[in-house]
């Protein structure tokens, strides 16, 4: 689809892109096409439409910070020596000169103090890693809260979850490399986790470390995982993620002219490409500023790893904080010995069971939702979080769980900053980790449903103008005016929720269908998911509402009858529970 550019700012070309003489770019393009035949694919994709919304750019932060990671990472490999061979440090940092340390640590210090820009690059690499994972998470939340993971995008959601897992592992292997005190402490804890694995754990630990902890193999092994194995898989999966994005076309918010059948927005060339390219520079720039101004992982202060030393505030990077928090709030003495074999529940549960379980739950979300709703349609229009109250509440519950576990991982820092007791914080977290998500679920769902009601009120009765009228008898009422048609349409551009009903006889009296049990569970879940939702008004209800409003306006203008704010009292919404819309 082409655009009339005749009226665009005169600095833009106003003539068509086909020049009379083949331009150099044109001849290069034909040279390439003669050999690669790309024109067929390009003709569609160069002007591919991307809808514009800030929340659609969160994944881009992740993409661009990954590019920064690749660039800065390559720079660091030029000096970093991933060896645990013992050397005596003779570099520029006074306080460590003469100390024995691994080559890895010595080269990390060399990059920091003797390579110009080396410290900047190290810090940019580390900040970019923090931002990479954080932006993946924010992007994931956007996708979940808007229902963008529904069919046909479930597989892309799964790829995204795997990217999050790999990003986290990549981060862990990365911050373990300098072999400083903090990273060594982290590796030792990881060794403890491995050893807690039933049956094969001890051998897994010995194989990974090439013998007893710490050995001299772990850093070279983590290094190759960090610079080759995981980045390779990450690149491949990011490519798949993007290809699926292009194939499915981006989701969009509903609105006038924006339907399930189309996508409305700017073409990739030039606007979207410029915005995305510009954003790359901005992400890069912000990371460079952070790298230059804010200290991160000052390995020289930690000193080289020594298994007899430790520092207060020994924490992993933020994305490993939540399993660490779960680890911290486990009660004492959670260990059993069965037939002489030790099972460490205190490590098994928070590290080896709950985090993988959470990841599986996350990956299954679109499939579970699809199964419950029985919805087989493709979805390209996003839902506002309030219009899927149960899903929104489930996500907020998961976030609450995550957030509490995360906070528990920083309980010592919270204790000193808030002058609290780590013991009290831990006791609180032990309860809150169970109750918090439930409470969050309940509050969020009710909140969403209230917002749905308020939307319907706006549709039926208009918005509150703030104009108070006083009738002759002294009654006060606020004037409501209808909202504009665009907003009104946008508010109604959403699906009606259909509670899934069992085939055949819908109620208990029916004959059991072959797989009636799972169907009944499904129907029950569907009803749990949808029954309290507020549906958009029907056309009849809207007309009645408008009629009412006009009538009211007439009355008010005539002032022969007071509009006292009670004129809609009898009105109840269809399909909702029995709570009246307004109870005044």
């Amino acid at each position: 689809m082409s655009v009339d550019t005749s009226k665009v700012a005169t600095s833009n070309r106003t003539d068509a892109a086909t020049a009379s003489k083949p331009s150099p770019a044109g001849s290069l393009a034909s040279w390439a096409d003669d050999r690669l035949g790309l024109a067929t694919a390009m003709k569609k994709n160069l002007r591919k439409v991307f809808p514009d919304h800030w929340s659609f750019m969160l994944g881009e932060i992740a993409l661009w910070s990954f590019v920064v990671l690749l660039l800065t990472g390559v720079f660091l490999t030029l000096w970093f020596d991933p060896s645990m061979g013992e050397v005596t440090y003779e570099g520029s940092y006074d306080q460590l000169r003469g100390i024995d340390m691994s080559s890895a640590m010595a080269s990390a210090l060399h990059i920091s103090f003797d390579v110009r820009g080396g410290l900047l690059m190290r810090q940019m690499h580390h900040w970019a890693a923090m931002i990479f994972i954080a932006s993946m998470m924010v992007h994931l939340l956007r996708v979940a809260f808007t229902g963008a993971y529904r069919k046909p995008r479930e597989l892309n959601w799964v790829i995204g979850c795997i990217l999050l897992l790999l990003g986290t592992l990549e981060g862990f292997t990365g911050y373990s490399l300098p072999d400083d005190l903090l990273s060594g402490t982290g590796i030792r804890a990881a060794d403890g986790f491995l050893k807690a694995t039933p049956v094969a754990g001890t051998y897994m630990s010995f194989l990974l470390f090439g013998g007893e902890f710490p050995g001299e193999s772990i850093i070279p092994r983590l290094y190759i995982v960090h610079v080759l194995l995981i980045p390779g898989i990450l690149l491949a999966l990011i490519a798949a993620h993007m290809l699926l994005l292009v194939y499915h076309k981006h989701t969009q918010w509903p609105g006038p002219g924006r339907t399930e059948q189309n996508v409305v927005g700017y073409p990739m060339l030039p606007v979207y490409a410029a915005k995305a390219g510009g954003f790359f520079f901005m992400v890069f720039g912000v990371i460079a500023l952070m790298g230059g101004l804010m200290s991160i992982n000052p390995v020289w202060k930690f000193g080289p790893y020594d298994p007899t030393k430790v520092t207060a505030g020994s924490q992993p990077d933020w994305y490993m904080g939540w399993p660490d928090g779960l680890l911290r709030i486990m009660p004492s003495h959670m260990e059993t010995v069965i037939f002489g074999y030790t099972i460490s529940w205190n490590v098994l549960i928070p590290i080896l069971l709950v985090p993988p379980l959470m990841l599986v739950i996350l990956m299954l979300l679109p499939f579970v939702e699809g199964w419950i709703t029985g919805d087989k349609r493709d979805h390209h229009l996003l839902q506002r979080p309030r219009n899927a109250p149960t899903r929104t509440a489930v996500m907020v519950a998961l976030m609450t769980f995550y957030g509490l576990a995360w906070a528990a991982g920083g309980n010592d820092i919270i204790a000193i900053k808030l002058h609290a007791s780590i013991n009290q914080i831990t006791y609180f977290m032990r309860g809150a980790i169970f109750l918090g998500p439930l409470l969050a679920f309940w509050i969020t769902r009710r909140w969403c449903i209230s917002l749905q009601r308020s939307d319907n009120e706006k549709l039926l009765h208009g918005y509150e103008t703030g104009i108070i009228t006083r009738s002759a008898s002294g009654q006060y009422a606020e004037r409501h005016l209808p909202i504009n048609p665009t907003s009104a349409y946008t508010l109604t551009a959403r699906d009606r929720d259909e509670i899934y009903a069992v085939e055949g006889d819908t109620d208990a009296s029916g004959v059991a269908a072959p797989n009636s049990r799972s169907e009944k569970v499904r129907a029950r879940l569907s009803s749990w998911m949808y029954q309290h939702n507020v549906q958009k008004p029907t056309r009849a209800e809207l007309e009645e509402g408008h009629h009412h409003a006009e009538h009211e306006a007439e009355l008010q203008s005539g002032l022969d009858h007071p509009a006292d704010g009670h004129q809609f009292d009898d009105h109840r919404l269809r399909d909702t529970d029995e709570v009246p819309l307004r109870d005044h």
Partner: protein, 290 residues
């Protein structure tokens, strides 16, 4: 103060310049001079004035300390939550008094396991009098002399060695509670290990010697006086070293780093995304074709 300070990165290099040597010499003279004026008269005075000082200390003790520590510093036996309220001061020595009173920890506002630093309640003479009195109750560690914890007067090489060794001792014995940066850390049941930044060498030495409150002591049989001196030298050196990497974000490690990555990094970039995707201003005018 000049903001851009060329070649100030290394303390040792800074000191190597000809003028720096002179400055050190002058500083040394100044310090020894003032030390002389501070201590020499006291030494010169007779046994009698020392007794006066103890008497003055006892008077102060009776009004400010005896309520918790007993009239003769014998302590009160009350134990609450496992902590003895007002322990005996017999044998704690002048060093303990100088630390506790000199840093404002004593007298405490209320009994408890943690004695927060606050405004110092006594002047230097009064602290010295109190210390003299408590020291007279029983033999205990004396207030360290400047020479005990200062690395002045050592050769450049010795100094560097001392700092490096001090760093290793610090990381082995102190960081577990006080953190790698000396920024402090959390202890059980609401306790905390305080921040060591800006604490005078004398007080660090005294704390090591006497183990204030819940802190274990590092007596001379544990950490030798030279090792204590090295730790103090290391702490001084990391405070004098420039922050090569920029703002330290509290020096608390990965938790504060994570917080900044989210608030500044993600916050800033989401802000940028909002700007990029926002609608530009629109004109009511229609385009006039040229």
């Amino acid at each position: 103060m000049r903001v851009l300070n060329r070649t100030a990165g290394r303390l040792s290099r800074h000191r190597r310049g000809p003028l720096a040597g002179l400055a050190v010499l002058l500083l040394g003279l100044l310090i020894s001079g003032s030390l002389y004026t501070a201590f020499a008269p006291a030494q010169a005075q007779s046994q009698a004035s020392e007794t006066d000082q103890i008497a003055q200390g006892k008077e102060l003790f009776l009004t400010s300390c005896a309520f918790c520590h007993g009239k003769n510093g014998e302590g009160v036996p009350t134990v609450r939550d496992g902590y003895q309220i007002g322990p005996s001061l017999v044998g704690v020595g002048a060093a303990a008094v100088d630390f506790q009173v000199g840093t404002g920890r004593m007298p405490m506002a209320q009994p408890g396991a943690q004695a927060p630093r606050k405004k110092v309640a006594f002047d230097d003479d009064e602290v010295a009098a109190l210390a003299a009195y408590v020291a007279s109750l029983g033999p205990g560690p004396a207030i360290p002399d400047e020479s005990d914890y200062s690395i002045e007067g050592m050769s450049e090489e010795e100094r560097e060695e001392a700092i490096t060794r001090g760093g290793q001792i610090f990381l082995t014995n102190c960081t577990a509670c006080h953190n790698f940066n000396g920024a402090g850390g959390a202890m059980p049941r609401g306790g905390y290990a305080p921040n060591l930044h800006g604490v005078q060498g004398k007080y660090i030495y005294e704390a090591l010697l006497t183990g204030p409150q819940n802190m274990p002591n590092f007596s001379n049989g544990n950490l030798s006086p030279e090792e204590k001196r090295d730790v103090i030298a290391y702490l001084g050196s990391i405070q004098d070293t420039p922050e090569y990497a920029g703002f330290t974000l509290g020096g608390l490690g990965p938790v504060s780093e994570g917080l900044f990555a989210w608030i500044l990094g993600i916050g800033g970039l989401v802000g940028a995304a909002v700007w990029i995707a926002s609608h530009t201003t629109r004109s009511k005018k229609d385009k006039v074709n040229a």
